[in-house]
Amino acid sequence: MSADRGRQEGWLLRLWLRNALVWAALLGLLVLSMFLAYIPMGPVTVTSGVAIAVIKSSLVLVFFMELIRSRALIRIAALAGLVFVGVMFALTLADVLTRSGKI
């Protein structure tokens, strides 16, 4: 019984530790993005906010949503949404960013 309890406490600790590390990284990145927003770096300021959002969402997708342990079919389903959003952004911005005059 005590060996069972010890095993249970062991995986419980690992479970919390593993997820708390991801959570701490997410909060750290949140604070970083807030501070970077106040530093005047031109276009880099905007890019840093979005880049940090991409890193944060990747952490959630990979660890909290367990894509790291998912089957290939699930990963493809997740990727499908991102690919089509990518196409939508690429085609629209290819137009908007190459216009010579204002609308």
């Binding site: 909290f64 949404g81 908007v96």
Partner: protein, 214 residues
């Protein structure tokens, strides 16, 4: 009654098949949600490219503290949800832990909505609703706030649905009407919750951070 018998639903003959189908189904739904929110964010991006100064001025008017606190609340709710979901997949005695983590997740979701309510109240008092009497002089700042109300409103609706789904699991689990250990319903609810969090992760820099450095 074994776990598999207790959790098995029509038309599935095996729990593992049911679990895989549920997971695949929710990921297809989440991919469609990604496109839905993607279209809104793309609209924002195009408007911001066309009106960078007005978007900077409008972004400065948002309350960064409400936004940052709410982001931290949602990130923490994702932690408790991840622990609930991963603990439920274990074989040990996890019922109390799963129930506590689900309860904390729902409570954090409600806390987010309360903070958002205070923020909306402040926005209304500062006349940041597009239309007559809008606070900012740049006409294009109204585009920012039009999108702000739309996107945060749609996100709040998603979160409310998430809270309802989590509370349902807590109530059914506490009454022992469903088995939480190994439950595909819990797994699917968790994935939905995390996506609502991911959407907010992108909204945070787009709503609260523009114009801070200028």
């Amino acid at each position: 009654m074994s776990d598999a018998t207790a959790l098995l639903r029509e038309p599935w003959q095996r729990l593992e098949r049911q679990r895989q189908a549920g997971k695949f189904g929710i990921w297809i739904f989440l991919a469609s949600e990604t496109l839905f929110f993607g279209a809104l964010l793309l609209t924002y991006a195009v408007c911001r490219i066309e009106h960078p100064d007005a978007f900077a001025a409008a972004g400065r008017e948002t309350n960064i503290w409400f936004g940052t606190i709410n982001t931290a609340i949602l990130l923490t709710s994702s932690l408790t949800m991840a622990v609930a979901s991963q603990a439920a997949a274990q074989k040990g005695r996890v019922r109390q832990l799963v129930l506590a983590c689900l309860g904390a997740t729902a409570a954090l979701g409600v806390a987010f909505m309360i903070v958002k309510g205070f923020e909306y109240k402040e926005d209304i008092e500062k006349h940041l609703v597009p239309g007559t009497g809008f606070a900012l002089s740049q006409p294009s700042a109204q585009l920012f706030y039009g999108l702000y109300w739309l996107v945060t409103g749609v996100h709040a609706i998603h979160l409310t649905i998430g809270i309802a789904l989590v509370v349902r699991l807590v109530l059914l689990g506490a009454a022992r009407r469903i088995r939480l250990r190994g439950s595909p319903e819990l797994e699917v609810t968790a994935l939905y919750w995390h996506l609502v969090d991911v959407v907010w992760i992108f909204l945070y820099p787009l709503i609260y951070l523009p114009g801070r450095a200028s």
